[in-house]
């Protein structure tokens, strides 16, 4: 970057190579779209109302058609079918207005039918009353427009699977990227110290490395999950980040060992640069491509790991949705024949992971100075 106008630097060359690679460009666009999705969903621009009940429970995808079995449970008003759904540019005050109306009407007239429907369920579900209280008016208001089908179906509670997948993508990608960033920082810093200083410091960090790699990875993750005993995005990021630094540590350490005696580092020493400055200002830019590729590799791996952790129930809490928790729900739904949630989570994840892996390969090739 600093050598603008002169011969192209490593990054410029790498960027040119990346752009010339059609597969790389396509995968970069897909990954970019997922990132935009994550940010938009994180800022509540899209899928903010994912937890709302917009259809009957297990409403099938539109292209399958409404299920006959559930027709008896469905409120009569929902005859307008799939077309009812795209019109959900919802009045943000709808719930409040409904609440006011309900209070005016004594809370029975508009929602009597829906309440009657709920009546039978309340007997079965001991928490139904509490749930109804928690959900409050949103349930009542939403009941009027419950759809028979949705573009990609609904889950048990009538939530839109597409919105759920978007929200799940937000969690899974965020966790994967943040954990990868944490692991990369830990691995790079430890690797830099071990490789640069050598001697005792190297021995110490190598010992640390040996201890962490002596325990099989999944066992280590589960052991840390057991002692943290918390469900949450931060906990998952910590679990994955604190266990996943070993691979990058080795690579960065090897790079620092190679670079520390090069002429430019000796020159930096001669002009009086401190050790820290030599490590992070002089050497780091020359090995940062290793960290970058590893960041990408780790992100893919951690997205997969997060899905497994959340599936097992050691990941994100129940009020958050991730691809893993979707797969967990889908496992039981599949036996009942409701396959769409499984398909949605699988497709979203496969698309991202394929694109991300291809991008990582392309990035590695583009940054490899041996290929010119």
């Amino acid at each position: 970057m600093s050598a603008a106008g002169q011969s192209a630097g490593l990054w410029q060359l790498a960027w040119r190579r990346l752009i010339a690679d059609r597969v790389a460009v396509v995968s970069m666009v897909v990954v970019g779209l997922f990132l935009l999705l994550m940010i938009a969903s994180g800022l509540n621009l899209i899928a903010a109302n994912w937890s709302e009940e917009v259809a009957v429970g297990y409403a099938p995808p539109s292209f399958v058609g409404a299920a006959k079995k559930t027709a008896a449970n469905a409120p009569r008003q929902a005859d307008n079918g799939p077309n009812a759904y795209p019109g959900t540019v919802k009045d943000p005050l709808a719930t409040e207005i409904a609440e006011l109306r309900r209070q005016l009407d004594g809370g029975v007239t508009t929602s009597s039918e829906a309440d009657l429907e709920l009546g039978d369920l309340k007997v079965v579900d001991p928490l139904a009353k509490e749930m109804a209280e928690i959900l409050g008016t949103t349930t009542v208001a939403a009941r009027h427009e419950l759809a028979d089908t949705l573009p990609f179906g609904a889950d048990k509670w009538g939530r839109d699977v597409i919105k759920k997948t978007v929200k799940g993508s937000e969690t899974s990608i965020f966790v994967g990227l943040t954990a990868a960033l944490l692991a990369t920082i830990i691995g790079t810093v430890l690797g830099a110290f071990a490789g640069y200083y050598g001697g005792r410091i190297d021995d110490f960090f190598n010992w640390f490395y040996n201890v962490f790699t002596a325990i099989p990875y999944m066992l280590l993750i589960l052991a840390i999950a057991a002692v943290l005993n918390q469900r949450g995005v931060t906990a998952v990021v910590l679990i994955l980040g604190l266990t996943g630094w070993t691979g990058i540590y080795r690579l960065v350490r090897a790079e620092y060992m190679k670079h520390k005696s090069r002429e430019y580092v000796q020159a930096a020493d001669a002009i009086g640069a401190s050790n820290r400055r030599r490590m992070f200002v002089h050497i780091f830019p020359n090995i940062s491509h290793v960290s970058l590729v590893q960041l990408s590799v780790n992100a893919v791996g951690f997205i997969k790991s997060e899905v497994i952790l959340s599936f097992l129930g050691f990941g994100v809490p129940v009020d958050k949705v991730s691809w893993g928790s979707m797969l967990n729900e889908a496992q039981n739904e599949l036996i009942l024949g409701y396959w769409w949630q499984l398909a949605a989570a699988t497709l979203a994840m496969a698309l991202l992971v394929t694109a991300f892996s291809m991008f990582t390969d392309a990035l590695r090739d583009a940054l490899d100075p041996k290929i010119k």
Binding site: A214, P216, A226, V227, L312, Q331, T346, A350, T354
Partner: protein
């Protein structure tokens, strides 16, 4: 050779000590006071104090660490907090089912992926090669959970070809009745990444001079590929296989959980769910020790397979 083995064993001591310290730190410090976990939600201060005395956690940390080291050396970790079963008993009885699944899985997976890799490496650059490679990338992107969920549903639940889950008492019944589907799904999960990896190993060999020499002397393509190329590519393949060996000791967490196979992996997941620290702690320490031994054996075997390797 014996000097090498002795030195390696000597080097294991600090690592093992580190694992013990890490396990101690995690389970006695980060994990919180086990007395509260054990006593449950409703507990009086007297109960807590009595449990703490029983577990020895009212002692200072160095005494607790010493107790832990004694437990490791005598293989007596006490009992599971959840089931009261002795922890050593748990480990011994759970390892069999894990191996029943994992050993056939590893063998079938390796044979199949090596054969496919030889095949696609031979026609490298062709449409078949590229199609198989893209297929592998896509197959690797689907979560392994999906393979297991869908496989169990379609093959066991819908088609009824296999039992949905279960485990019996006789080894043969387990191997031939309950294991085939878990093994099949495990192979399906592992075959794509292995094929990709082994293909690169074979490609590294296929352009070597000795291959040209072998062709020049008029050997058949089969002999060249199987006797010359594959034999040399076997060295990195074996190295890669060795990295899987420690995993044999912990079992396949997900497959064991889905198919209710009473192996080590399922035990770990159950222990995490129940905060059953003695079980996880013991398994972590033993598996780490076993991993180091297995790695040493792997290095010795490696030298036997490749005389060029010098053990230093």
């Amino acid at each position: 050779m014996s000097a090498y083995i002795l030195r390696r064993l000597w080097q294991m001591i600090p690592t093992m000590l580190g694992v013990v310290l890490l396990a101690f730190f995690l389970f006695n410090y980060v994990g919180g006071d086990p007395a509260y976990i054990l006593a449950g939600k409703i507990s009086s201060p007297e109960q807590i104090a009595s449990i703490r005395r029983q577990l020895g956690i009212d002692q200072p940390y160095y005494v607790q660490l010493w107790i832990f080291i004694q437990q490791i050396l005598t293989a007596d970790f006490g009992s599971s907090w959840a089931t009261n079963e002795p922890v050593s008993q748990i480990i011994i009885t759970r390892i069999g089912p894990s191996l029943t699944i994992l050993i056939p899985m590893l063998i079938i997976e390796t044979v199949l992926s090596v054969l496919i890799a030889v095949g696609v490496a031979y026609v490298r650059g062709s449409l078949t090669d590229r199609a198989v490679m893209i297929g592998c990338t896509v197959a690797m992107s689907v979560s392994l959970l999906v393979y297991i969920i869908v496989g169990q549903y379609v093959l066991a639940y819908q088609l009824g070809w296999f039992p949905v889950q279960g485990w019996g008492n006789s080894f043969l019944e387990n191997l031939f009745k309950y294991s085939p589907l878990p093994i099949l799904l495990g192979v399906a999960v592992g075959i794509a990444p292995n094929t990709r990896l082994y293909r690169t190993f074979i490609l590294d060999e296929i352009n070597q001079d000795y291959v040209r020499t072998a062709r020049a002397k008029g050997l058949s393509e089969n002999t060249v590929m199987l006797h010359h190329v594959l034999r040399n590519a076997l060295i990195p393949i074996i190295t890669n296989l060795m990295t899987y060996l420690p995993a044999l000791l912990v079992g396949d967490f997900l497959i064991e959980r889905f198919f209710s196979i009473p192996g080590i992996g399922r035990e770990v997941i159950l222990a995490v769910e129940r905060s059953d620290f003695p079980v996880i702690k013991a398994i972590t320490v033993y598996v780490a020790a076993a991993t180091m031994i297995v790695n040493l054996v792997a290095d010795l075997l490696y030298q036997a397979a490749d005389p060029r390797v010098q053990l230093k």
